[in-house]
């Protein structure tokens, strides 16, 4: 994240480069911009809660620029992945997150890197907010040795510190998330676990089992249902007897949040995190969001919803546009400054894609490694009895 001075100096440097001979001209100083402003966010619907997250929130210029940069990076990264997939440089599964950026960024804004997070397969955005670099993420998608999982995991199996993937089987990550929260409570370090799933997974039995245990044992877990209205091609109306996902935890308090507004998500997460850390047990947030792409790259995404619907969300509720409008209309940034960020982001993505397409594939010696942890080396049978391979921890 950039400091204000770094941002200013970047802008100034860029201006100076562009304007060749001219020295620093009339660059606006930070004194020209509003340092912080108050914004109205949608009120969250609540379930079994006496209070609700604030509807008037403060955002500083610094925060705004950081959220903008992060969301733009995620957006461009996903679009680049789309491109690489169509060129068949990325293979297998690829579930893109564009449209949902405010969720990942808003959540991370109100937790610490020392907290924990687990999600399902639409995970590239979270890998980034949890500390993965664009380079490592893209190289994982292209299956290279520089990938965040050394090329062995692929799109759905990316991990980093305190981020437990990246899980391919719908709903299976939810009991795991509660387990992480149990460890947090046991170790007494005031950490919590954010445990995400989608509207499709929300009907899974194992989720209800997890709600029960989390509530019984007062685990510090924030369950987050990212409701993007469609479980693959099934709309929420066709899938769920109740689409009030924030109430489905029944005895677990819940919030329904505007997932397209990064500030609303941030505020709700702040509220939820405080709930957990004060020992009150689990809480559930339903983030109402939208994905522009289909379920995965093999789904055009228009056989079960209209192009008009997608276009409407893009034009009225895009999280990045919303933030940009807020900043510009409150004099918190200039158009040029945001364009500069766009240029830098684009370059970062290009560099990462360059790396991801030129980095070599993992070496064959790695094939059998990482089967067991803390284990003496073992022999692994290859495709026939004369093929004896080696596995080290």
């Amino acid at each position: 994240c950039g400091t204000m001075l770094t941002n200013i100096s970047n802008v100034l440097r860029a201006c100076a480069q562009r304007n060749g001979a001219a020295a620093v001209i009339s660059a606006r100083t930070y004194a020209d911009f509003t340092a912080q402003a108050t914004f109205e966010v949608k009120k969250c619907d609540t379930h079994k809660l006496d209070e609700a997250p604030a509807t008037e929130v403060v955002m500083t210029r610094e925060e705004g620029l950081q959220y903008y940069r992060t969301m733009q990076t995620m957006r461009r990264m996903e679009l680049k992945a789309d491109q690489l997939y169509k060129q068949k440089i990325i293979r297998g599964f690829c579930h893109l997150y564009d449209g949902q950026e405010a969720c990942a960024v808003g959540i991370e804004a109100s937790i610490n890197l020392s907290d924990h997070l687990i999600t399902a397969y639409r995970a590239h955005g979270y890998t980034y907010t949890r500390g993965g670099t664009v380079k490592e993420i893209m190289a994982e998608l292209t299956g290279r040795r520089g990938g965040i999982a050394k090329g062995k995991g692929g799109s759905m199996h990316m991990y980093c510190k305190n981020f437990y993937g990246g899980n391919g089987i719908v709903g299976a990550q939810v009991p795991l998330g509660a387990g992480v929260a149990l460890a947090c409570k046991h170790q007494g370090r005031n950490e919590l676990c954010v445990c995400l799933y989608g509207d499709g997974a929300a009907n899974q039995g194992q989720i209800f089992e997890t709600y029960n245990m989390a509530a019984l044992w007062k685990l510090p877990v924030i369950f987050v249902c990212e409701n993007n209205r469609y479980g693959m091609g099934t709309s929420v109306e066709r899938a769920a007897a109740s689409t009030d996902y924030y109430k489905r935890g029944e005895f677990i308090p819940g919030l329904r949040v505007d997932g397209m507004d990064v500030l609303c998500v941030r505020e709700a997460t702040r509220f939820a995190a405080e709930h957990c850390r004060s020992g009150k047990g689990p809480i559930l947030m339903e983030l109402q969001t939208y994905r522009y792409h289909g379920h995965s790259m093999s789904d055009p995404g228009v056989s079960y919803r209209t192009r008009e619907e997608i276009q409407e969300v893009r034009s009225k509720s895009d999280p990045i546009s919303m933030l940009k409008d807020r900043m510009l209309s409150n004099n918190m940034a200039s158009v040029e400054e945001l364009k500069e960020i766009d240029v830098e982001v684009r370059k970062e993505i290009e560099d990462a894609a360059q790396f991801a397409t030129t980095d070599p594939e993992p070496p064959l010696e790695e094939l059998c490694n990482h089967i067991f942890y803390n284990n003496p080396p073992l022999d692994v049978r290859g495709t026939h009895p004369w093929s004896k391979l080696k596995s080290v921890s």
């Binding site: 299956g143 062995k152 799109s155 091609g233 594939e361 049978r381 026939h384 004369w386 093929s387």
Partner: protein, 322 residues
């Protein structure tokens, strides 16, 4: 009468098998994820909802008495979430009820490795399901297998696990005129000799049958004639066909995509040892299998995790000591 040769891919015979059986018996119905508007995730159930409607094609999750459901798993990897029901409710109920409650259900869907779908989506479940008494486990290779065996599976009064293969859905095969008839069925529990030979018996199932035939073609040029057997059914396994072949060729190589330990090849080895063919073996049985690791994502690693044609050729030659 000549053969009418029409090229169809595995998913078309699967579709037509279901279509014909839905028409033939009104107790048959199909349960599938993402049917109707998404048109079945891999489009195998394409159009069936439009033809038969909600009453016969749905995402209803329960087994209604007197009906004959076909339950589609998007892949068999997801069947693990329901595996208790497959084993404890489907496989064992007829036994536990001492013959009172039969379970005429088919579980079908793609099984095994695909392309680049990584560890959680690439497992072969043949060995897991074939371990259980009360289940029949079928694994078709080509279009005729797919159609004939699925029709038999649907007409079967007991639970059948029907293991298709995603990479085979798009592969065209010639289909004989006979196989296009609505009454065409292939019996469950009978293997097929796809290619006769005298020097070595090569037994496989599903996609790798094709690899074995390719290997056999290469070896034929060197004067080695392989007898390639397509198991078609994993449980009950047609051991007699394998034994008859081994008693002729004296050599046996098994080829599968799944992991080696406790797998299909391991079972074949054990059964051969226990039967008359053991005394006819001139060399130990060789198993060609997937590598004993979770499936990696990177292409170079994935390619080296599954049997290649060259691995089959190498193994056959080693077994024959040539």
């Amino acid at each position: 009468m000549g053969l009418i040769e029409t090229e169809l891919t595995e998913s078309d015979p699967v579709w037509s098998a279901m279509d014909e059986e839905l028409e033939r018996d009104e107790r048959v119905f199909l349960m599938v994820e993402e049917v109707a508007q998404y048109d079945g995730a891999l489009q195998v159930s394409r159009g069936l909802w439009k033809k038969y409607g909600d009453k016969r094609i749905s995402t209803l999750p329960f087994l209604r008495a007197g009906l004959r459901p076909i339950c589609e798993f998007m892949t068999f990897n997801f069947s693990m979430q329901a595996i208790d029901q497959v084993i404890n409710s489907a496989a064992k109920t007829y036994y536990m009820s001492a013959g009172l409650q039969p379970v005429p259900i088919v579980f079908r869907g793609p099984n095994g490795a695909s392309a680049g779908v990584a560890a959680q989506h690439s497992q072969c479940f043949a060995a897991w399901y074939a371990h259980c008494p009360g289940l029949k486990v079928v694994s078709p290779w080509n279009s005729e297998d797919a159609k004939g065996l699925l029709k038999s599976a649907i007409r079967e009064d007991n639970p059948v696990v029907f293991l298709e293969n995603e990479l085979m859905y798009g592969v065209p095969f010639e289909m004989s005129e006979e196989s296009q008839s609505k009454d065409f069925t292939i019996p469950i529990g009978k293997a097929k000799v796809e290619r006769p030979g005298d020097h070595v018996t090569v037994v496989s199932h599903s996609r790798l049958v094709g690899h074995c035939l390719d290997a056999a073609a290469v070896l034929a040029k060197e004067g080695i004639e392989c007898e390639v057997i397509n198991l078609r059914t994993i449980r009950p396994m047609d051991v007699e066909s394998i034994e008859a072949s081994v008693m002729k060729t004296n050599h046996l190589v098994t080829v599968e995509g799944g992991w080696p330990q406790f797998g299909v090849g391991a079972e074949i080895c054990a059964r051969i040892m226990e039967g008359p063919a053991f005394n006819y073996l001139d060399a130990p049985v060789t198993r060609v299998t997937g590598v004993d690791i979770p499936m990696p994502y990177a292409k170079i690693l994935e390619d080296h995790s599954v049997p290649q044609i060259k691995d089959i050729i190498f193994s056959i030659k080693k077994t024959l000591n040539v």
